[in-house]
């Protein structure tokens, strides 16, 4: 028994690793189909993306092995270090890195490129887990879920939010990578698991709803509507000053959201406006321009039917109708060539991995591992939801990869590191880590 425990693979969750390998393999097959052309058939041809992806996959497996070899304590100890180091790298990239295709998020080493923002995910996850487990408190602001109690434990919440906001703001503002930045919102799920008030989420959800509504409905109409709801509320609540003030405050802030949304929308860049317009189906969407990607993506997926057109048989895929099909729109290849069978399988497989990670997180004795696990699940889910959502027209076009599927070294490495640190932590689940 002793011997087995010494093995670096002792205690690792084989099922998770298995799903990981399957997803990576399926991803590669679809990249091959997306890039495929008759002149380059050699799968090891590194001038082609599928050849290159094999290099990424091989190196990812190597990285995974290294992660499993390193002592689990290393990750807790160096959490803040990773976070700080990568944060600095993210700040430095726009100044030190070379601009590639208008993007300033890359460090270039010859033909290789590294996107520090991708690695910010696991670093932030580590830092958040470290902070929340160290203070050993729940982020819960009230046991009784009372709205007023929000004030009490605000300090902890604010620190957690700062840990998440720093990378978000730096990546958004300095690098202008919306997709990479928005991922950090996903950690709200972790916070919720660790005790964030439901009220907080409800306020968040209602704000989002209001945000969307204010884009769809004229602001005057919407505010009038809110006023009517507020008046109705006065009829049904206890007539005390306190309640009156609360309802008034809610009404005022809701109106504020509406007005702010309109203000922000009016000050958005034109291309961002059109992305929102495309999603909401507002105005005349020119299918040749703004709506082109989404439309072609939907055509690719929609034309797949139940069983798909067959591997390497997708006309949308083969004849390049869908842009960026090897990266952000890789799901279209699945949809067209493997049909509904393929798309639902991929979603279920990814979902299965996520649920598996949650189950693993719940069996941790150490809060650090649990929190980290939830971070992994949240990030994977966010990517899945946004990436697939945009190809089927449910979410605006935000350029983020489908975990383990999309082409790209940085994203594959980043997801591998994210997941395998957790697998390592899980292997040591009986040890309390701080």
């Amino acid at each position: 028994m002793r011997k087995e425990e010494d093995s670096i693979f002792y205690g690792i969750d084989k099922l998770t690793v298995f799903i990981y390998v399957i997803l990576v393999f399926m991803g590669w097959l679809n990249i091959y189909a997306a890039v495929y052309n008759e002149e380059h058939k050699n799968i090891f041809d590194t001038t082609q993306k599928y050849g290159m992806q094999l290099v990424w996959i091989g190196s990812a497996f190597f990285i995974a092995t290294v992660i499993l070899i390193i002592d689990a304590g290393f990750y807790t100890v160096f959490s803040y270090f990773f976070y700080g180091f990568l944060l600095l790298a993210c700040i430095a990239v726009p100044y030190l890195g070379r601009e590639v295709k208008g993007s300033r998020s890359w460090f270039r080493f010859g033909s290789f490129g590294i996107q520090p923002a991708e690695f910010m995910k696991f670093a932030t996850n580590l830092a958040l887990a470290k902070y929340l487990s160290n203070v050993n408190i729940e982020v819960e602001l009230s046991r009784k879920n009372r709205f007023i109690d929000l004030i009490k434990n605000y300090k902890n919440t604010i620190y957690a939010v700062i840990i998440l906001s720093l990378p978000l703001l730096i990546i958004k503002i300095l690098q202008d990578e919306t997709g990479l930045a928005l991922v950090f919102i996903a950690f709200i799920i972790t916070l919720y698991r660790e005790g964030l008030s439901v009220n907080f989420l409800i306020v968040g959800l209602l704000s989002t709803l209001l945000f969307v509504l204010s884009l769809v409905i004229a602001s005057n109409t919407l505010i009038t509507l809110l006023a009517v709801i507020a008046c109705l509320a006065f009829l049904f609540i206890k007539r005390s000053l306190k309640h009156f003030i609360i309802v008034s405050l809610i009404f005022a802030s809701a109106s504020g959201v509406v007005l702010a949304t309109n203000y922000v929308y009016d000050h958005l860049e034109p291309h961002q406006k059109t992305r929102i317009d495309v999603l909401l189906g507002r105005g005349t969407v020119n299918l040749k321009k703004e709506g082109y990607n989404v439309n072609q993506a939907k055509i690719a997926i929609g034309s797949g039917g139940f069983f798909g057109k067959g591997y390497l048989q997708g006309t949308q895929t083969k004849y390049d109708f869908v842009p960026e099909q090897d990266t952000d729109f890789i799901f279209c290849t699945v949809g067209e060539e493997w049909g509904f069978v393929g798309t639902s399988s991929v979603i279920m497989l990814e979902l299965f991995l996520i649920i598996r990670v949650i189950m693993m997180a719940e069996r941790q004795r150490s809060p650090f591992s649990r929190i980290y696990g939830y971070g992994v699940a949240s990030v994977l889910f966010f990517h899945l939801a946004i990436n697939v959502g945009m190809t089927i027209g449910l979410v605006p076009v935000i350029g983020i990869p489908l975990p383990f599927f999309s082409y790209g070294g940085s994203s594959l490495w980043s997801f591998t590191i994210l997941l395998f640190i957790f697998i390592k932590l899980d292997a040591n689940r009986l040890v309390i880590l701080r």
Partner: protein, 624 residues
């Protein structure tokens, strides 16, 4: 820990939320992948192009295998408006030599039903060689545009326009009715092209090709599993003699009228001339076609599009007397030696119809001299003969006998027009004169091919062919056969017998017709070395100078050609029509013409024009 266990329940909410979102997505995918068919169509429209492979239209040859109609390549510019958005309009306009407005107009047309923005349709037809060359180089720059090659007709010799007809774009109504045709397809619109459309057109081929996002062809769908090859149209062997046709058109230059020649032993049409004519190459299509057609259509002086040989209703005039002579003999009313008085007209009616001075004649002589009085008697003999106590029965007997030669019947030809002509019915005259208020003398001018009696030239030629055959005719047709096997409809091999089967009657009439050349109204047109039979005629024309008619066949024994020629407003048949017919018969039978001075006079005569029209005021009413 207590708190944590309370929070642990949140894992269900979180997992539930994840699963909920996944289910929503899978439902959405189920909808767009399985229920909604729109995307499948869109994908097809993106990557699939249905290419029609147009078959080569069958060539048309004359009776001796000489080429009448061939094909040449032409290029159409196609557009799929949905894919063409954002292309360099200005550059394209420049190449096509059109204005921006016209470009937009054409684009709009390509978007409207039955076209659609997603469907490929013709943007510009039959590009000129210059435009095609310029366009081909830069086509890759114009997304959504494509060039398709097709063939158009070419006529090596610019003749027989009315007979051959032309090919043009199919009408909307036809395209809607007949699934073979799509709008923009070509179809035979008149002449042989129309009669034999199905044999000539062949079968369209269909190809499904795949293109990439740059509209670059990437190969056939399923390696061509669903493709069909075009089957070329069958060659058509026309019965006309191209040299005879050409010669006839030359002779008819400057004259209005028609010539129809038939081979009596087969019913094959040897020439079908309608003058004035036009160059059939003018109507092969493209931008020029509309212009040319409009020009021809509005030429009210010449009416070049009017097919006189098949649709002009002319009174047959004296040539009709042949039929009367035959019927009367068949009924035993007259013999070869029957003589009727003529004192410059028909005596019982006070000298009407008028006649010209000539000695009293027997039957052959009456044909050679074309005596009007003689045939007024003959007509009344037939109608009023004793076996029909009722006048109407007599008249119907005459009418039916006439109709057995073809007049007032649909012959059932393969030509696009099959006008019956008119031999007036009893009903018609009852309406005009009132029942029992008319008798044979009222309509006596029918006997000399006048009054309301009208025929189209083809029918008159058929009458001559039946006389040449001594009592039967084959339905006239303009082809020898379809395809290399020269397949011919059985109905063209069936003899149609006339009322008159008395061979002696024919012999007598033929003697008269031969005498017509020897000592009659057509002596000036006698063909050296050939025994021909003919009959002149002058068709009274209420609108102007009389039409000249001449019917003839040759040789008398085993006739090879029967012909009729109408020259409008030319007066006496012996002056204009007879020489033309005699020249053509000579040319056809011997291959050469021995009377160049007559040929020259005929070719140079211009009977159309203001000078000629004024002559009608000074015309003298004489019938021969």
């Amino acid at each position: 820990m207590n708190q944590n266990s309370h929070l642990a329940d949140r894992k269900f909410i979180i997992s539930g939320f994840f699963i909920f979102v996944a289910i929503i997505y899978i439902l959405r995918l189920f909808y767009i992948q399985i229920i909604d068919d729109r995307y499948k169509l869109d994908a097809r429209n993106n990557a699939f192009r249905n290419r029609t492979e147009y078959p080569l239209r069958g060539y048309i040859y004359d009776r001796n295998g000489k080429l009448l109609v061939q094909n040449v390549l032409s290029y159409d510019l196609l557009v799929t408006p949905k894919l063409a958005k954002g292309c360099d309009t200005m550059a394209l306009c420049q190449i096509l030599e059109i204005s921006k407005d016209e470009f937009l107009r054409k684009m709009k047309k390509a978007c409207q039903a039955p076209n659609s923005p997603r469907k490929e349709s013709i943007f510009e037809k039959q590009l000129s060689n210059k435009v095609y060359a310029a366009l081909q180089e830069k086509l890759y720059r114009f997304k959504g545009f494509d060039v398709q090659s097709r063939t158009v007709r070419r006529y090596p010799r610019p003749i027989a326009a009315h007979l051959l007809g032309y090919v043009g774009e199919v009408s909307k109504e036809k395209a809607a009715k007949d699934s073979y045709y799509l709008e923009g397809d070509y179809i035979g619109i008149s002449g042989i092209e129309r009669s034999y459309e199905e044999q000539l057109r062949g079968v369209k081929g269909k190809q499904i090709v795949m293109v990439d996002v740059h509209n670059k062809t990437k190969g056939r769908y399923m390696n061509g599993l669903y493709d069909t090859a075009a089957i070329a149209g069958k060659p058509l062997f026309c019965s006309i003699d191209i040299d005879l046709q050409e010669y006839g058109e030359k002779l008819m230059k400057g004259k209005k009228g028609a010539i129809v020649g038939i081979e009596p032993s087969t019913g094959e049409i040897l020439c079908l001339i309608s003058s004035p004519s036009y160059d059939p190459n003018l109507l092969v299509g493209g931008k020029e076609r509309t212009k040319n057609y409009t020009k021809l259509y509005y030429d009210s002086l010449n009416l070049p599009l009017f097919n006189r040989a098949l649709t002009a209703m002319y009174p047959p005039g004296s040539t009709f007397k042949l039929i009367d002579a035959l019927i009367a003999q068949q009924d035993g009313l007259i013999t070869r030696s029957t003589v009727y008085p003529c004192h410059g007209g028909y005596p019982p009616m006070g000298g009407r119809p008028k006649c010209h001075p000539h000695p009293s004649t027997d039957l052959p002589g009456s044909i050679a001299t074309s005596c009007n009085s003689y045939y007024s008697y003959v007509f009344r003999e037939i109608v009023d003969q004793k076996k029909f106590p009722n006048f109407e029965d007599g008249y119907n007997h005459w009418r039916d006998a006439v109709r057995s030669f073809g007049p007032n019947t649909k012959l059932g030809t393969d030509l696009p027009f099959d006008k019956p002509g008119n031999v007036p019915s009893i009903k018609y005259y009852n309406k005009i004169f009132g029942k029992n208020h008319w008798r044979s003398n009222t309509v006596v001018s029918l006997g000399i091919g006048q009054a309301e009696l009208t025929l189209v030239p083809l029918q008159m030629a058929n009458v001559v062919a039946s006389i040449a055959n001594r009592g039967y005719f084959y339905t006239p047709h303009c082809i020898k056969g379809v395809g290399v096997e020269k397949k011919l409809d059985e109905k063209y091999k069936k003899k149609n017998y006339t009322y008159v089967q008395n061979q002696e009657a024919y012999n007598n009439v033929l003697d008269g017709m031969q005498k017509c050349f020897d000592a009659g109204t057509a002596t000036a047109s006698k063909i050296p070395g050939i025994i021909a039979c003919g009959k002149t005629g002058t068709a009274e024309n209420p609108h102007g100078k009389d039409h000249a008619v001449f019917s003839a066949f040759a040789p008398r024994d085993k006739p090879k050609i029967a012909m009729v020629c109408f020259v409008e407003n030319a007066g006496f048949g012996g002056t204009w029509s007879a020489p033309i017919v005699s020249l053509m018969i000579e040319k056809y039978l011997t291959g050469k013409v021995t009377r160049p001075e007559i040929e020259k006079r005929m070719m140079e005569a211009n009977l159309i024009g203001a000078n000629h029209v004024s002559e009608k005021k000074t015309k003298t009413k004489k019938r021969h």
